[in-house]
């Protein structure tokens, strides 16, 4: 209990020291570090999940495969990998609104959503979203789920990686997958926000 809460400068020095030792041991190289960072900064992110959602909205057979086995269906689009080896899509309906969390650590489906935002990993979200999900959505995300709709929170306690298939908005008949994908926000696949509004 004597451990100290470090400043950013102290953490940075600690990390550089650790990095230097791991580099000397051949565990890491700056080249490999840079490549891994590049992947999650620029290649893997919620635009991939949005592509999957748009295809599911457009192609009922794909959607059936996605709901049956999300990891296999995503591979059809070349989407797969770390922290998404066993994904499971939970579909919003008129009766059920889904939300994901990991209350014990911060599990999150990287291949479709990228790395999680900090609020998802913060103690506050993990503490409150199972206990008072409607209050959290309302207070922190300005998002309301009608009382008649069940709020179902998926606590990612195993290696199954859950994520949300939002409902296709009205007014999008005949839209291309590319155009549909632009409506799909990261928050809508976490379950804490809506898909983008369609101008009417």
């Amino acid at each position: 209990m004597s451990a100290k809460i470090r400043t950013q400068e102290e953490i940075a020095a600690r990390v550089k020291a650790l990095e230097s030792m791991l580099i000397e041991q051949g565990v890491m190289t700056t080249q490999a570090i840079d490549r891994m960072v590049e992947i999650y900064e620029h290649e893997v992110g919620p635009q991939l999940g949005a592509k999957v959602v748009a295809k599911a909205w457009s192609d009922p057979e794909f959607k059936a495969r996605l709901v049956e086995d999300a990891s296999e269906a995503c591979k059809e689009l070349g989407i797969s990998g770390l922290q998404g080896e066993d994904m499971f899509v939970v579909e919003n309906t008129d009766d059920v609104h889904n939300i994901i969390v990991c209350t014990l650590c911060s599990c999150y489906p990287w291949p479709v959503l990228g790395l999680p935002p900090n609020w998802y990993k913060d103690p506050q979200y993990r503490a409150a979203i199972t206990r008072e999900p409607r209050k959290v959505l309302s207070d922190s995300f300005d998002f309301t789920v009608p009382e008649s709709v069940e709020v179902r929170v998926w606590d990612s306690s195993s290696e199954m990686r859950y994520w949300v298939l939002p409902q296709r908005p009205a007014g999008t008949d005949g839209w291309s997958e590319e155009r549909l994908a632009e409506l799909v926000t990261r928050d809508s696949m976490i379950g804490v926000g809506p898909v983008a509004q369609v101008a009417s």
């Binding site: 470090r6 400068e9 940075a12 020095a13 030792m21 051949g26 995300f141 199954m160």
Partner: protein, 239 residues
């Protein structure tokens, strides 16, 4: 183990703060830490369950107050020290060095094509925790089950808020590495995983629960026992 990392239902820690925009990594040091999970895993520091347990062992005040990726630093240090892969005195010495000279360079080193190839291979494929097993599933979708309320001391995924609660098995996922052994260095011993759905009323009590809500939580086979429809109805567990 029981600890503050097991956050579900913790009151009094303030609102969820959602910034308008934020980068994937907020500081240069976060970029160095993030790859440590995959690369130290490759180097035999830990499995994913052990990695999590190393984080659970962080001083709880530090856990609550430190930035997320600092948790990863702690678990890398924990296993590095435990396995004799890191000389902690040397780590302290180098920390002081970089604290005094933040711009001092990292050691000169060669690129490693095999490590780069590992990154390119593991990111799109991952490493599933699913394991073949000929164990029979003790439960099936539709079963009403109660979670064991006992309190293991090492790593477990049996969160406190579901212990003792009654819910319905809604999904069966097959057999996966068992964190209660793997996270404690005791091997994979795969077990069936199920999703159990609990009503808010069952988890928090009718007086304290938000209406029309439920939580789905994944359990391994040894976490649960049949409660039976009678037990469930008696406690108003399942809608």
């Amino acid at each position: 183990m029981n600890g503050v990392f097991d956050l579900a239902g913790t009151d009094g820690i303030g609102p969820v703060i959602v910034p308008e925009h934020e980068p994937v990594f907020r500081a240069a040091w976060e970029k160095a830490v993030f790859p440590m999970f995959a690369m130290c895993f490759r180097a035999g520091f830990f499995g994913v369950d052990e990695f999590r347990h190393g984080i659970e062992l962080i001083d709880p005040a530090v856990y609550l107050k430190s930035p997320y990726y600092e948790h990863w630093v702690h678990t890398v240090e924990h296993f590095g020290e435990k396995l004799g892969k890191l000389d902690m005195a040397e780590l302290d010495r180098r920390t002081a060095h970089y604290l005094a000279k933040p711009e001092a360079p990292l050691p000169q080193h060669q690129d490693d094509p095999e490590l780069l190839a590992f990154v390119e291979a593991v990111v799109p494929v991952g490493a599933t925790a699913k394991r073949e097993s000929d164990k029979a599933a003790r439960f099936k979708v539709g079963d009403i089950v109660r979670v064991d309320r006992s309190a293991p001391k090492g790593h477990t995924r049996r969160a406190r808020y579901i212990r003792g609660a009654v819910g319905e098995v809604v999904l069966a996922h097959g057999t996966f590495i068992y964190p209660d052994t793997a996270g404690n260095g005791l091997g994979e011993h795969p077990e069936h995983v199920y999703t159990v759905r609990f009503t808010n009323e069952e988890l928090w009590g009718a007086e304290h629960a938000e209406p029309n809500g439920s939580v789905c939580f994944d359990v391994w086979d040894p976490y649960i026992e049949l409660a039976g429809p009678a037990a469930a109805n008696a406690e108003g567990a399942v809608a």
